[in-house]
Amino acid sequence: MTATPYVVLSAIIFTIGCVGVLTRRNAIVVFMCVELMLNASNLALVAFARQHGNLDGQIAAFFVMVVAAAEVVVGLAIIMTIFRTRRSASVDDASLLKY
């Protein structure tokens, strides 16, 4: 048994997240897609840890969860503020800075 199916699955999830970030307009959904990318990495890390028979990858997955949680705190704070000022969380509306 190899780790390949798990890694392929993680790559698919990562791609879904990546495409989501590029195509969705709502900042919250974009942010959720980023989280999807992080979780895809977690799956790959754990699968590889299993394959190599050491715990580094699994430990890393815990760190990633903590980092993702911290990122949620900061990210939602920023998105909330901008939503309250503009009454919209669309990333297309925030377009004062350009060129």
Partner: protein, 530 residues
């Protein structure tokens, strides 16, 4: 049952980092317990003291490094193999700490806004509402910016010192998250500031997603996160090349985003323009120094034996970055935005240095190594950027900082000193002889030439010439153009900003006229230990 073995932490070598993080935590506690009136003074003093203590510690650690092996690569791998304290690390720590002291001084400036800092009185209050008016009439301040800055500094110090991919990822986030918040805290032009924070955050999180997936793939390839093990696997393991190449590419995306290299540069102008200028100054210098340190370590130590895979990629990116930075800077009409594009061009020049020859043994005597050139360039760049943005905070009109070119017209006639200082920083960024920038450019170009990267150097010289055009255009605007309409004038700052600018000017001049000592110091930093 195995016996429990205590992990060893080399406190004697790591305490500069520990002091910074400790002071950051202390700052959070102070924020909770001190009455509002006392916070500004105590937080800023605490931050400066903490950074100064860490800087002293860095010097002490640096002087002590020779204990751990002689030769070019000396230092030790600390904290159970997660952090490396070697010559380049110590040099970068010193740089980061110097520029973050400058950053704290700019943060603490209160005279420009008439008794309040440049940060929002109450970030949660909506712009244009009663709550915001109250916050500003009561003279409220967000003093949380100091702990946030300290956390960012801690992350920046950890980033180039990381010896495994996990530590590097955590450091990346620790340095980025506080910066996302700091960007959104401007007192004036709140919408721009919040928009900058949103863009920086979304794109930053996106890029760190790439970085993390790269971590996972490289771990899958090597079976370990440690750089030395990865290097070993790169050398010996021919299987799974695709994992290695894709992983390397994804790690590069994350790092190139942080340094603002094309095609991952698009956040830079928006964030530099929208963020409070003090934050921009700190971020422009600190992030770039930390990220270049991390990039050098990752590519030289972990992927050093596979340089034929990553060098062509960096060639292309260096060329693209220089051209994008220089050409787009020409069409800018906003000072902060122009400086942002110029910082992109500088990223390109630094990447040119990264392409150079790494080991001193391949060079004849007196030639500089790649490491030395990049470290020196980062020094000159940092002083010019911090100084330049500090000057931008002074030029104001009724609406706060005036950054559009129209307002800067004729500034040299109204305030020759400030305009002269700014012109001097611009000349250094352009790389005119007798300024620090010239020596830095010369150093990175020679190392790239020595490594045979002449196409990159040709493009670099071309984009330097384009860069001279837009820097000189701004200087001409300041000194030789008649002002029309409303113009900006220079507000007298307190000692804090003046001191930062003065240090920037002196350092830029000294590094340009007698670069020897600092160049030697950068050379003395030696190489990474593996």
């Amino acid at each position: 049952m195995n016996d429990f073995v205590n992990p060893t932490i080399e406190y004697a070598q790591l305490w500069p980092i520990l002091v910074v993080f400790g002071v950051a935590c202390l700052g959070v506690v102070l924020e909770a317990f001190l009455p509002r009136g006392r916070r500004h003074l105590s937080q800023s003093v605490l931050a400066v003291l903490g950074l100064a203590a860490a800087l002293g510690g860095t010097v002490y650690v640096g002087l002590d490094l020779h204990k751990f092996g002689g030769g070019a690569a000396r230092g030790l791998i600390a904290a159970e193999g997660t952090i490396v304290v070697d010559g380049p690390t110590v040099y970068l720590w010193g740089l980061i700490l110097v520029f973050s002291i400058g950053g704290v001084l700019l943060f603490a400036e209160r005279r420009l806004e008439g008794g309040v800092s440049a940060f929002a009185g109450q970030a949660a209050a909506l712009p244009g509402t009663e709550a915001e008016r109250q916050a500003s009439t009561q003279g409220l301040d967000h003093t949380e910016v100091y702990p946030l800055l300290m956390f960012a500094v801690g992350g920046m110090m950890l980033f180039p010192a990381a010896n495994d991919l996990l530590t590097m990822f955590v450091a990346l986030e620790v340095l980025s998250l506080p910066l996302y918040l700091l960007c959104g805290l401007a007192r004036r032009r709140r919408l721009l500031s919040q928009e900058a924070a949103l863009k920086y955050f979304l794109l930053g999180a996106f890029s760190s997603g790439f970085f993390l997936y790269g971590v996972a793939l490289i771990y899958g390839f090597a079976g370990s996160m440690q750089f030395s093990d990865i290097n070993e696997a790169v050398r010996n393991d021919a299987s799974n090349q695709s994992l290695l190449l894709i992983g390397m590419g994804m790690l590069a995306v994350g790092l190139l985003f942080k340094v603002g290299a094309a095609p991952f540069h698009s956040w830079t102008p928006d964030v530099y323009q929208g963020a409070p200028t003090a934050v921009t100054a700190f971020m422009a210098a600190g992030t770039k120094i930390a990220a270049f340190g991390a990039m050098l370590r990752l590519f030289y130590v972990a992927f050093g034996s596979d340089r034929w895979s990553w060098q062509p990629m960096l060639w292309v990116i260096a060329i693209l970055t220089m051209l994008v930075g220089a050409v787009l800077a020409v069409v800018q009409t906003d000072v902060k935005r122009m400086l942002a594009y110029s910082s992109i061009a500088h990223t390109g020049f630094l990447l040119t240095g990264v392409l150079g020859v790494q080991s001193a043994s391949e060079l004849s005597d007196g030639q500089v190594t790649s490491m030395q050139a990049v470290l020196f360039y980062l020094t000159t760049y940092g002083f010019a950027m911090v100084g330049g943005f500090a000057v931008v905070t002074l030029v104001r009109d009724s609406g706060g900082e005036a950054t559009s070119f129209a307002r800067w017209a004729g500034l040299g006639r109204r305030s020759p000193l400030v305009a002269g200082v700014f012109a001097f920083f611009l000349l250094s960024m352009a790389g005119i002889p007798l300024t620090a920038g010239f020596v830095g450019k010369w150093a990175v170009f020679t190392v790239a030439l020595a490594a045979g990267a002449w196409p990159v150097v040709v493009v670099a010289i071309g984009s330097s010439i384009i860069a001279v055009y837009f820097y000189v255009r701004l200087i001409l605007l300041m000194f030789f153009t008649e002002a029309e309409g409303e113009v900006a004038s220079v507000t007298t700052p307190s000692l804090l900003t003046s001191a930062t600018i003065a240090v920037g000017v002196v350092a830029t001049l000294v590094l340009g006229v007698v670069p020897g000592p600092v160049l030697d110091l950068a050379g003395h930093a030696g190489q990474f230990i593996r």
